[in-house]
């Protein structure tokens, strides 16, 4: 086992770890910007069927990290336990939280991460979204004691798909990667259908002078 690197661990509050955080974050922000994720108009296309870029980028990233980490662990380079321990499952708050983050995403036009990229590229809507996330996350902390057992409900601990389905991790990662590749064809089909439907709807007015 070589990875993770002790000096760079996220729980270490050392200058070296912070420099690493800054470097990784810079790469993260740059890639998000280049993907078009600093723009609300491009991001929300996902939810109107006009462009499924969010699905393609997100799923491809997940698959890449999934196959990569399973592979590194399989050859003994990565101590996977040291990483997975940071991701316990609390089913109910994760389900409700997911619904809220999704609804908030299409309302604001960003997710908490992409809103930071949008704010950095001068988008006022991005800046307001960042402010909203600050307020909302503090508000939840204030509210949490009043919600009783909800925050800890559905506590399943360390539960990962390979253990859940009794399939070796690397094999499952490859199967999901293949499924992703097929699903992109479906995503393309949805985009074409939506584009055709929009063209039909717009056809009667197409003859009139266009105000583009």
């Amino acid at each position: 086992m070589i990875f993770p690197v002790d000096a760079l661990l996220q729980e270490n509050l050392t200058p070296v770890a912070f420099a690493g955080a800054l470097a990784i974050g810079t790469a993260f922000g740059f890639v998000l910007e280049r993907a078009g994720f600093g723009r609300a108009d491009k991001l929300v296309g996902q939810f109107y069927g006009t462009e499924m870029t969010v699905y393609r980028v997100m799923f491809t990233a997940v698959v890449t990290a999934m196959v990569g980490s399973a592979l590194l662990a399989a050859v003994g380079l990565l101590d996977l336990q040291a990483v997975t321990i940071n991701y316990p499952t609390y089913l109910w708050p994760m389900i409700v939280g997911g619904l809220l983050v999704g609804a908030g995403f299409v309302t604001s036009g960003y997710c908490p991460g992409t809103s930071v990229v949008a704010a950095a590229s001068g988008k006022l809507d991005g800046i307001f979204t960042v402010l909203g996330v600050v307020v909302g996350s503090v508000a939840y902390a204030e509210l949490q004691p009043q919600l009783g057992a909800f925050h800890e409900s559905g506590k399943l601990g360390k539960l990962f798909l390979p253990e859940l389905f009794h399939v070796p991790r690397l094999l499952l990662a490859v199967v999901i990667a293949v499924a992703a590749a097929f699903s992109y064809k479906g995503a393309g089909k949805i985009e074409r259908l939506v584009a055709e439907a929009r063209a039909r709807k717009a056809a009667p007015v197409a003859a009139a002078p266009q105000a583009e």
Binding site: G38, A61, L99, V106, C111, F128, V138
Partner: protein
């Protein structure tokens, strides 16, 4: 470098690049990427400046001050990097511009109000889920956490369920 604000990376190229950034976070630092956690810590810092006793009395707020300043944290530095990276990306692509992205028939003020509201809803959701689309969906998803996959499915479901109600924002 030629600057074309309408040119983006191919989504699969961007996805692999994003996946490699995430993989290097796992391998080097023992944990994935995140975003909402840093925003939360900025908020806690502000509350702590005016009402430290209150922060100490609320469990989740107090937890963020356990190791001194809430800002002395990996995620905060990572998100500072996201600002730098986003700025660099926008500048080199010609997309660095002060503007409000909205549909041509939708006003600026309501658009900004909805951005604030949507952000607040996401803040609440991310608090519950112990992470946002990055910190839970992407990072937990890449490790095949059952909870993160449930989160991701619900994230898309929540987006599609809400989309019709806010469609005028972008048209």
């Amino acid at each position: 470098m030629e600057r074309n604000p309408n040119r983006f990376w191919n989504p699969y190229v961007a996805g692999v690049a994003l996946g490699l950034v995430l993989l290097s976070a796992y391998a080097l630092t023992g944990k994935g990427l995140g975003a909402s956690g840093a925003s939360f810590r900025v908020g806690v810092t502000a509350v702590n400046a005016v009402a430290p006793d209150h922060v100490a009395a609320v469990p989740m707020l107090a937890a963020a001050t356990e190791e001194g300043s809430p800002l002395s944290n990996w995620l905060v530095f990572e998100v500072a990097g996201v600002v730098l990276g986003g700025l660099l990306g926008a500048w080199t692509s010609g997309r660095l511009k002060l503007e409000t992205l909205r549909g041509p028939t939708f006003g600026q003020a309501p658009r900004l109000a909805l951005a604030l509201l949507g952000g607040a809803v996401m803040g609440v959701g991310a608090g519950m889920a112990r992470g946002c689309a990055s910190g839970q969906g992407l990072s937990g998803g890449g490790l095949m956490s059952a909870g993160a996959w449930a989160f991701m499915l619900c994230f898309f479901a929540g987006g599609y369920a809400m989309a019709w109600f806010v469609r005028r924002e972008y048209r």
